[in-house]
């Protein structure tokens, strides 16, 4: 019977089907961080349970770490205690930790792929909704709650119902200035913030194939923003080339064996999907969001909808009131106070290169504060090796140290109430970047041009 990529990976991880439809589902790789793991470790202690497979868990500190002076003790005592607790838990349970100061430290969804921990055919979970990022490698990867973190720690399994399958095919070529971020913001704007609830999405088509691994990660990362359980892309030569030689990727004969297996991971011609959508890459423009969920996106040169269906009016009005925008208006010319380039969506070396390439020889607008937070120590090191740090500094951008930073503003990196921030992150929810902060999601290229111009512009006028 014809199977989808999703079916092949899912079925190979079912330990047992139980009456009623739930399945005992095996997890290959478990990533943990300081915010959603402490209660899970405590529960193991209370129940007297060991970790079943400590070697399949990797930890890092990312959500709640400062992005300045990481060599010094964390100043906020509550944050420090949370990060210290992760260190203590990993030491006492025997989990490998890439903590602050470690050369492998970084945002959990950035370090997994760059270390080769993320591989095709795997099942990967983390107590973080953007775990969908790892699907870019042809893995089933999804976010879980803390109770499930405990379950995976104790049994390496979860009790799950199988999601429905959706395939989103994007054919054709992206236009100049249109990036993976615009592609996924466009799709989410079409489906809405809950449009893929209950589904696991496979991205396919020539425009997806043409993306780098970094671009594919950006796309899969934001699957959750339309409600999907996760997103994945069949592995191909781009995937293998990215993985080969990475520290945790298979080596030698094991690489050949893995490769032979990975090459079986694709959707068969007649594979069934409960939903199929197709997009033409040429229809996608540089995007920006105007509201308070990621589905509220428009082309940069577009207009905010003048009205919405009656049932959604309350949320729409509340959202525009929060953002200080009017129905039907254009965002072009709006003054911006902050630009944040970072997060598990867009903090990889390719993102930093795109920003540096544009801002080289230019300077940010005087009224804009622009920060760049690399996704990992490795990205930071690479940026410095390529001289990007100097280009960014000369352009007035501050290059920080790795972490989740102003994406969720758990640390001190907050946008002030009422201020507008063009952000390369994934969520524009009310208060996400700090109480009262107004977030406009966009690509790194749009963010870079916005920082230089100090306002929202039609970026196609600024491209060489």
């Amino acid at each position: 019977m014809a199977k989808s990529l999703f079916d092949k990976i899912w079925e190979s991880h079912v330990v047992k089907a139980i009456p009623g439809g739930l399945e005992v589902f095996y997890i290959d790789r478990h990533l943990i961080h300081e915010v959603t793991s402490p209660q899970a470790f405590d529960e193991l202690r209370e129940r007297g349970l060991p970790l079943l497979r400590p070697a399949q868990i990797v930890a890092t500190a990312d959500h709640n770490v400062p992005t300045r002076n990481q060599h010094l003790p964390i100043q906020d005592p509550i944050s420090r205690s949370q990060v210290d607790k992760l260190t203590e838990n990993c030491a006492s349970f025997g989990v490998e930790l890439f903590g602050l100061g470690h050369e492998n430290q970084g945002i959990v969804h950035v370090i997994g792929p760059e270390l080769g921990l993320t591989q095709p055919g795997m099942t990967i979970v983390c107590g973080d909704s953007h775990t969908s990022t790892h699907g870019a490698f042809g893995a089933i990867a999804f976010g879980i709650g803390t109770s499930q973190v405990t379950q995976v720690m104790a049994t390496q399994c979860l009790l799950l119902s199988r999601p429905k399958r959706m395939r989103i095919t994007v054919d054709g070529e992206l236009r100049p200035g249109v990036t993976a971020k615009d592609l996924i913001l466009h799709i989410i704007a079409q489906l809405g913030t809950g449009g893929a609830t209950g589904y696991f999405v496979e991205y396919a088509g020539s425009a997806i194939r043409a993306l780098s691994m970094e671009g594919r990660m950006t796309v899969c990362n934001m699957s959750i923003e339309m409600g999907a359980r996760g997103g994945l892309i069949a592995p191909d030569a781009t995937t293998y080339a990215y993985l080969q030689g990475r520290p945790y990727a298979p080596q030698g004969e094991r690489w050949e064996q893995a490769l032979a297996y990975w090459q079986t991971l694709y959707s068969d011609d007649d594979a069934e999907f409960e939903a199929e959508l197709t997009f033409d890459a040429a229809d996608i423009a540089p995007m920006i969001t105007y509201g308070t969920n990621p589905g509220m996106g428009i082309a940069l040169t577009g207009h905010i909808p003048p009205q919405v269906p009656a049932g959604e009016a309350a949320s729409f009005d509340k959202s525009l009131q929060y953002m200080g925008f009017q129905p039907g208006e254009s965002l072009l010319g709006k003054e911006i106070n902050y630009v944040f380039i970072g997060s598990c969506t867009n903090s990889r070396i390719e993102d930093l290169r795109a920003v540096a390439a544009y801002v080289q020889g230019k300077h940010k607008a005087a009224h804009v504060e622009a920060i760049i937070v690399p996704g990992s120590k490795s990205v930071e090191k690479q940026a410095i090796a390529e001289g990007l740090d100097k280009i960014l500094a000369q352009a007035g951008f501050e290059l920080r140290e790795p972490g989740c930073s102003a994406c969720l503003a758990m640390n001190d990196d907050k946008i002030p109430a009422g201020a507008y921030c063009v952000s390369t992150s994934n969520r524009n929810f009310e208060g996400r970047q700090g109480p009262g902060a107004r977030t406009l999601l966009a690509s790194p290229l749009v963010a870079a041009i916005t920082a230089v111009e100090g306002r929202i512009v039609d970026i196609t006028q600024y491209l060489n």
């Binding site: 190979s12 095996y26 915010v35 055919g121 049994t155 298979p250 309350a314 758990m410």
Partner: protein
């Protein structure tokens, strides 16, 4: 996990769509390393001004509305996977959230917390919101074993779906981990027999 059988309660209407977990519990309150105490910051930025004073007009500050059931617009609990959102609702006294659909991760987290995500049609949701908004003392009855939501004043019982296994867990206060631990032998066998090894 606490056991859940039946609940007789009034409800609190919050009929906004796409309420995300950052609203339910903002990230800056996630620094605690225990499960307790999140209720005080439930909907913190909607509920309190920056000086900590209650905001007029938010339903949790409106003394007319109270109860252990939250009535919310569609796609409740979207966004972050933080289980702290379910803990905050539970800690604040809610035992049931009624919506026309829930975000997947939130639904799972709620069930693992003992909070019942009760899905009704959009039409039923709108009628409930209208009724409760105008008549805050309207009693609702959630009967989990019977899988019904009853509105006595309407003389109407509405059925709802729930996975039979998760239903048993809620009724008996069982966690998934109890079941998974009982499957240790099957898990070990699976590990030994898997066709490849990374």
């Amino acid at each position: 996990m606490d056991k859940f059988q039946t609940l007789h309660s009034t409800a609190v209407p919050l009929p906004l769509e796409n309420i995300d977990t950052d609203q339910i519990i903002p990230a800056r309150f996630l620094k605690s390393t225990t499960r307790e105490g999140f209720g005080a910051n439930l909907f913190a930025d909607w509920r309190y001004a920056s000086d900590g004073q209650p905001k007029h007009g938010f339903v949790l500050n409106d003394t007319r509305y109270h109860g252990q059931i939250l009535l919310a617009g569609q796609n409740f609990g979207c966004g972050s996977s933080r289980e702290h959102a379910a803990w905050a609702l539970y800690d604040a006294g809610f035992k049931v959230v009624i919506s026309s659909y829930f975000a997947d991760i939130f639904r799972g987290n709620a069930l693992n917390t003992g909070l019942l995500p009760l899905q009704v049609t959009e039409e039923v949701l709108q009628r409930l919101v209208a009724r409760v908004t105008h008549y805050p003392n309207t009693q609702l009855v959630v009967d989990l074993p019977a899988q019904t939501l009853t509105v006595p004043v309407w003389e109407e019982s509405i059925g709802f779906d729930l996975d039979p296994y998760k239903k048993e867990c809620l009724i008996n206060g069982y966690d998934d981990i109890d079941y998974l631990l009982s499957q240790q032998a099957a898990i070990t066998t699976y590990e030994q027999q898997r066709p490849w090894n990374f």
